[in-house]
């Protein structure tokens, strides 16, 4: 038994070490109380819905969400719009479909099964419209950045005037959380930029939090199911472990050796 704890300590020590190794060169990011962290972490529905609004009104003109479908908006564990709302959202977008029986491509209103409509035809078109920079697809963006949610949250609030001695090229902006501090994306948020349907005041901080929550969901749509199942699985394993421990003690007691 004692030995096992020694093994566990070693394991934890090692992971601690490798985790620190990765964390070594990070800047201190802004933090906020994310509802999706922790053993029972869930998304804040209101925040997800507001985040969706920020995405459509602000981000979606440049950033795609190519792995997300309109039906996901009505699914459990997401923003949980009603099916009618999700249908209406989908129908508000024009989707290119086809070819039809005449061999022609045509446009039709979006359906639940469609993926989110992309702002640009292709990467080249996106680059051409953005001074050579490609606005990354945001479907898994939170997982694709070292700092995760805190990084995105900080970046959106990290625009500043460049410190003395740093000159920026045309179309480049200074952001204290960006790797290398230079970013092609202009500051996308300003106070009151969107008018929230639920009356929440749209400060930059609030919008940053909402859009980050929304992007966390697009990156991990099954996060809530994962946390729920994880808790059950671990409780089950602990109970089983205890039972097996006592059976083991009993079996080994037949030969009087310390286990």
């Amino acid at each position: 038994m004692k030995n096992y704890f020694r093994i566990l300590t070693l394991i934890l020590f090692f992971f601690g070490l490798s985790y620190n190794a990765q964390a070594a060169e990070k800047v201190e990011y802004l933090k906020t109380d994310w509802s999706f962290k922790g053993l029972f972490g869930k998304f804040d529905r209101g925040s997800l819905q507001r985040g969706y609004q920020v995405y459509t009104e602000v981000c979606s003109s440049c950033h795609s969400l190519k792995y997300v479908s309109y039906r996901n908006l009505a699914e459990k564990g997401g923003p949980e719009f009603s099916e009618e709302q999700a249908k209406a959202i989908a129908a508000s977008f024009e989707v290119t479909d086809g070819p039809n029986s005449d061999g022609e491509m045509f446009t039709r209103p979006g359906k639940l099964s469609d993926k989110f409509v992309m702002p640009y035809e292709n990467v080249k078109a996106a680059q051409a419209a953005n001074g050579g920079a490609y606005p990354p697809d945001m479907s898994v963006l939170v997982k694709a950045r070292g700092g995760g949610a805190n990084y995105i949250y900080s970046l959106l609030q990290g625009y500043e005037d460049p410190p003395l001695g740093i000159t920026l090229d045309e179309g480049v902006h200074y952001n204290k959380y960006m790797y290398g501090n230079k970013i092609k994306m202009a500051n996308p948020l300003s106070d009151g930029l969107v008018e929230y349907a639920d009356g929440t005041i749209a400060s930059v901080e609030q919008m940053s939090k909402d859009i980050t929550t929304f992007l966390m969901w697009t990156a991990e749509p099954h996060l809530e199911a994962r946390h729920q199942m994880g808790f059950k699985a671990i409780v089950y394993l602990i109970i089983l472990t205890i039972l097996v421990y006592f059976s083991m003690k009993r079996i080994w007691s037949r030969i009087e050796t310390e286990v």
Binding site: N3, Y4, I7, L8, L10, I11, F14, F15, L17, S18, Y19, A21, Q22, A24, L39, Y67, N72, P136, S139, V140, K143, A144, R145, G146, G148, Y179, A219, E220, P221, H222, R226, H227, M229, G230, F231, A233, I234, L237, I238, L240, T241, V244, Y245, S247, M248, I251, W252, I255, E256, T257, E258, V259
Partner: protein, 420 residues
């Protein structure tokens, strides 16, 4: 294999067993006499078998949904994560399962190092183990390439480029490995094929590993030869089965924590960016379990010698039964070796740490010292120690540790005297 004759009771059983002695095998496995003083470090063999089976089962399921094509691989992984029922669970088990597998294998290897399990008559078990370990690294590396993220692509580029260090034919070999002039679709499809094949090779070798183990029987913490069956042994079932089961459950709790609560912490964020041959990531880092060898590779200034050093660091382990000249197996009775053992553990952890850091300045210096020490341990310290070290007296048997020096044995003795 078995030490005693086994005859099935039923007529059908006997008829079948005479033609294919599966029942004899099952009887051998349940009755297999195991030293009764095995501690929890010995439970990792069972845990590793569990890891292998988990990887194969989850891997098969993933392969049903994954598309091995440079344009579709990344998307198909996202499809698994989003639209396949419990796809996220299966993929996270598979991805974290690789890390758990290596965690367990490192404990298993270092257990052998501490208790001298590689020494005669168990050299073949040990060498098969090293081959399994090499195949595991190959499988893990190729598996990491399959999601076709940035780290997949650039990791594959860096590792395959190592072969270009071979004089004269190096460049040709790299082109041959890639199936083209850069890492691209042909590379991905062949990596997928090999990633699918290797686990079954490992499975076959595991059978040999266990077979080879069942010839001399288990080593044990005291490291002495024991008579089987005797007072020193217990039948594998139920004693070892329940103990391995308990340890496996403890291991699964740690495993589940990673899968359900921090599924991406052991991976690199860049691998959620789709592979782009035109953009090189700021730091190309392999998965944590390869970091010590990566540190050795980078600590040598010459490319070819670096590759040689890295390969030697692994292959030197295969020569261990002959490099370690001490007749005493267990470090419990080798006071000096015990200290050098822990220094080696620290050395490997340090190598892992600097492997994750940029190869410059102080990190590079530490990496070089640690690399030098790694080879010093195996090539100088171990051979010399066998002749110089004054070992402690070893007991004659597990149950009668009259000459015992270890605290475990003293405790066992005390308990025995209490019972008398």
């Amino acid at each position: 294999m078995s030490d005693h004759e086994y005859t099935p009771k039923s007529k059908v059983g006997k008829w079948f067993n005479d033609r294919l002695p599966l029942l004899t095998l099952a009887n051998h496995l349940t009755d297999y006499p195991t030293p009764k003083n095995l501690n929890y470090w010995w439970t990792f063999g069972g845990i590793l078998t569990f890891c292998l089976i988990t990887q194969i089962v989850t891997g098969l399921t993933l392969a049903m949904h994954y598309i091995a094509h440079a344009d579709m691989a990344f998307e198909s992984v996202e499809h698994i994560m989003r639209d396949v029922n419990y796809g996220w669970l299966i993929r996270y088990i598979h991805a974290n399962g690789a890390s758990m597998f290596f965690l367990a294998v490192y404990i298993h290897i270092f257990r052998s190092l501490f208790y001298g399990s590689y020494k005669a008559p168990r050299e073949i078990i040990w060498i098969i183990g090293i081959i399994i370990y090499l195949l595991m690294m190959a499988a893990a590396f190729m598996g990491y390439v399959l999601p076709w993220g940035q780290m997949s692509f650039w990791g594959a580029t860096v590792i395959t480029n190592l072969f270009s260090a071979i004089p004269l034919v190096g460049e040709g070999i790299v082109t041959w490995l890639w199936g083209g002039y850069s890492v691209d679709n042909p590379t991905l499809t062949r990596f997928f094929t090999l990633h699918y094949l290797i686990p079954f090779l490992i499975l076959g070798l595991v059978v040999l590993h266990i077979w080879a183990l069942h010839v001399p029987g288990n080593n044990n913490p005291v490291g002495i030869d024991i008579k089987k069956p005797s007072k020193d042994t217990v039948p594998f079932h139920p004693y070892i089965v329940i103990k391995d089961g308990f340890a496996l459950l403890m291991f699964m709790i740690v495993f589940a924590f990673f899968v359900f609560y921090t599924p991406n912490i052991l991976g690199h964020a860049d691998n959620y960016i789709e592979a782009d041959p035109l953009v090189t990531p700021a730091h190309i880092v392999p998965e944590w379990y390869l970091l010590p060898f990566y540190a050795i590779l980078r600590s040598v200034p010459d490319k070819l010698l670096g590759v040689v050093a890295m390969l030697s660091a692994i292959l030197i382990l295969a020569a261990l039964p002959w490099l370690d000249t001490s007749k005493i197996r267990s470090a419990v009775f080798r006071p000096l070796y015990k200290q050098f053992y822990w220094i080696l553990v620290a050395d490997v952890l340090i190598l892992g740490y600097v492997g994750a850091m940029p190869a410059e300045g102080l990190y590079l210096l530490i990496a070089r010292i640690a690399t030098a020490y790694y080879f010093l341990h195996f090539l100088v310290i171990l051979p010399v120690l066998g002749y110089k070290e004054k070992t402690l007296p070893i007991p004659l048997s597990i149950t009668e540790p009259v000459l015992g020096g270890s605290p475990d044995l003293v405790a066992a003795k005390n308990k025995e005297s209490l019972n008398n």
